[in-house]
């Protein structure tokens, strides 16, 4: 049995990296990620974690150094937020296209200007095209579990892709919650030594990244798409095995709450899913047949699993905490496209973008939005396809 402690989301990330026995950490401080780097430095300097920290001079160099360590055979880890993630974006692509396992935590925060340190998903969702597997936690226990699982998923030979784990700044990052820490030996047994397709350490002369002709290049990238597909299976296997070993199973790519007999579904990702679940519990008591589908991984996008839940539903409302200006929320965009695989008369679907720039969306807001969504459909009308819900 594990040890129950109380940790902030950031510390949960740091401990997950410790349990994964990371070898090299290269990171640059940025609010709200800083306490991850501080805790890791403390763990290292106190001798609790046998790792090397490279205190780089920028986020671009943070992921560059992490990439360097990873290709040279180290289990490498880094973490960043907001502007830092955008600054290292060049290496977000570089790492995935080199097919090198690595793990990065993103303590999500709004993008500037104006300066804003509060949570939304804009920084994280801006990385969706880059070939990283992307998971997002709802609470600090899951932050720990997901960060640990990220190493297992990333180093699976069927995947060999870096993994990015999101947690909202402040409402998870700086919020203390109970977290059960596992036995190190059980983790070692389960995770095992790092695995990768190749290593650059001088044993054999290898060159990574030489210019390639168009056809070779495209074939390499098609492999990434295949790996993303494999990842769907791997993520479920890891979730199963993790459940058996550590007692917490989340359901793989998505988690469903109150879905059994639901006619309506609310889809969301991240910490505010908790507030959404509380709202749905209340509405359930009032007789509304609604369930919550919480997306744990938005890459690879779990449309098959969501279809299984919503195929007979009367209405699906998708909450996005980021927006692609000039279009819609990214989760909505990906879900509609995904469901179109199965049918061209989709259930009534509605996209609500909210909570941008850290605006706090409460369970009351969710209850109000869900009630009007359901009642509009029950009356035979059609709710708006897109709403940017802003309270003030």
């Amino acid at each position: 049995m594990g040890k129950l402690v109380a940790l902030t989301g950031n510390y949960a990330v740091a401990y997950a990296a410790k349990y994964a026995r990371v070898d090299v950490i290269a990171a640059y401080p940025i609010t709200p990620q800083t306490s991850i780097v501080e805790k890791l430095a403390e763990l290292i300097e106190s001798g609790e974690l046998d790792a090397i920290m490279i205190r780089v001079e920028s986020e671009h160099s943070a992921l560059a150094a992490t990439f360097g360590a990873a290709i040279a055979g180290a289990r490498a880890f880094t973490a960043t937020s907001s502007q830092g993630l955008l600054y290292m974006h060049e290496f977000v692509h570089w790492t995935s296209r080199a097919r090198i396992p690595a793990v990065m935590a993103i303590v999500t925060r709004a993008l500037a200007p104006p300066w804003n340190i509060w949570p939304d998903h804009s920084d994280f969702m801006d990385q969706r095209d880059a070939g990283w597997i992307m998971g997002f936690a709802m609470d600090n226990q899951e932050v720990f579990d997901l960060t640990l699982q990220a190493f297992k998923i990333s180093e699976d030979p069927r995947v060999y892709l870096p993994v990015m784990i999101g947690l909202e700044g402040f409402i998870l990052g700086h919020t203390t919650m109970p977290v059960e820490l596992p036995e190190q030996e059980v983790v070692d047994q389960w995770l095992g030594p790092r695995k990768q397709e190749y290593v650059i350490d001088g044993k054999e002369p290898l060159a990574l990244g030489n210019l390639a002709w168009p056809e070779d290049t495209e074939e390499m990238f098609m492999e990434i798409q295949k790996a993303m597909d494999n990842a769907k299976k791997v993520i479920k296997e890891v979730d199963e095995e993790y459940g058996k070993l550590f007692g917490r199973k989340y359901g793989g790519l998505i988690q469903c709450i109150n879905c059994e007999d639901a006619k309506y579904f609310a889809v969301s990702m991240g910490a505010w899913s908790g507030d959404l679940i509380e709202a749905v519990n209340k509405l359930r008591e009032e007789g509304y047949p609604i369930g919550v589908i919480r997306i744990r991984f938005c890459r690879p996008f779990p449309y098959e699993d969501i279809w299984e839940k919503v195929k007979n539903s009367k209405g699906v409302i998708v909450f996005d905490r980021s927006i692609s200006f000039g279009a819609w929320g990214p989760l909505f965009t990906d879900l509609v496209t995904g469901l179109y695989h199965y049918t061209n008369n989709l259930p009534i679907m509605s996209n609500v973008v909210a909570g941008i720039g850290g605006v706090n969306i409460t369970y009351n807001d969710f209850a109000k939005l869900l009630t009007s969504f359901i009642e509009t459909i029950e009356k035979g009308d059609k709710p708006p396809v897109f709403t940017w819900y802003h309270k003030r």
Binding site: I52, I54, F67, G73, I200, P205, L208, N210, L211
Partner: protein, 306 residues
């Protein structure tokens, strides 16, 4: 320990033969390119056991297209500004894994070092990672077609200084590295392979961050006949314009080939160097005076730190 100049045919001891196996013929370098010349010297010191971390620069193309690589050594291509950062990551991973038989070398051009890579260079130097950072300096962005870099010399034509020529003096990166207090800094030239060889041997034995600035005349970029790459490299030293030295133990040690030229009277006139290069074809008298002034100031600085 001076390299023999063309006049006296006293044969120098050849560099060890294993410089034959690593730099493979038929690479994509232009005829007369200084890059593989320098790689041969690196191979004489490290053989296959080196990991070249190469940002965007001519070398990225010279090594050829997948699935082939023109070096029988390890290469990691990286984003333009990140050579020092990636090299740091590799070096620390190898240290953690207890691997000590391979040399991590950041191999970057002047643009990738003096401009876009300056922040990561400074960071890696300040953290004193155990790597050799080599800046091969062909004095402009050659891979993208000869645009001006901060390392382009004063007065030189480039495609982005097409009429007036560069209006600033060359950014002296070696001096900046000395200011970082790293254990070893040296300047070298492809025209003096024995000197470069000796500096690499010394750098190899020093733990911590080593920086070597290699002068690398580029036929296409400097507009000269490819057969003159070495001649022009030598003229740069013989005119006093390029000073070969090492910095360790807190002071500058002038290298053999440059020692005679501490005396201005021994230096060949700057024009000898300029006239072979098309990039200086339109240079004016007053600009040559400005270059001569720069050379004098540079020597004064060197003397003060010897």
């Amino acid at each position: 320990m001076t390299a023999s100049s063309p006049q006296s045919p006293k044969p120098r001891p050849p560099l060890p033969y294993n410089m034959r196996e690593v730099v493979l013929p038929g690479d994509a370098a232009c005829p007369g390119c200084p890059i593989p010349m320098a790689w041969k010297v690196l191979s004489a010191v490290f053989g296959e056991k080196m990991i070249l971390v190469i940002p965007a620069c001519c070398s990225s193309v010279v090594v050829g297209a997948y699935p082939g690589n023109s070096l029988k050594a390890s290469v990691v291509h990286v984003a333009f500004a990140s050579a020092a950062a990636v090299a740091s990551g590799i070096a620390e991973a190898l240290r953690k894994r207890g691997i000590t038989d391979v040399q991590v070398i950041a191999w970057a051009g002047d643009g990738g070092t003096a401009d876009i890579g300056m922040a990561s260079l400074s960071g890696a130097a300040e953290r004193n990672h155990d790597i050799i950072y080599i800046m091969y300096d062909n004095e402009a962005y050659m891979n993208t077609g000869i645009q001006r870099s901060s390392s382009t010399p004063y007065g030189a034509w480039t495609t982005t200084t097409p009429i007036i020529g560069k209006t600033e003096h060359k950014k002296d990166v070696a001096k900046i590295m000395i200011a970082h207090g790293v254990p070893y800094v040296a300047t070298a030239s492809v025209a003096y392979p024995h000197d470069l060889y000796a500096k690499l041997q010394r750098a190899k034995k020093i733990r911590g961050f080593k920086f070597i600035h290699i002068h690398a005349p580029c036929p296409v970029g400097w507009r000269f006949d490819p057969k003159y790459t070495v001649r022009i490299g030598k003229l740069a030293v013989e005119t006093g314009l390029w000073i070969l030295y090492e910095y360790y133990d807190g002071k500058i040690h002038l290298s053999g080939p440059s020692r005679p030229y501490i005396d201005p009277k021994k230096r060949k006139p700057i024009v000898e160097y300029l006239k072979l290069q098309g990039r200086f074809k339109k240079i004016t008298e007053d600009k040559i005076k400005e270059i001569e002034k720069y050379v004098e100031q540079h020597w004064e600085w060197i003397k003060r730190h010897m």
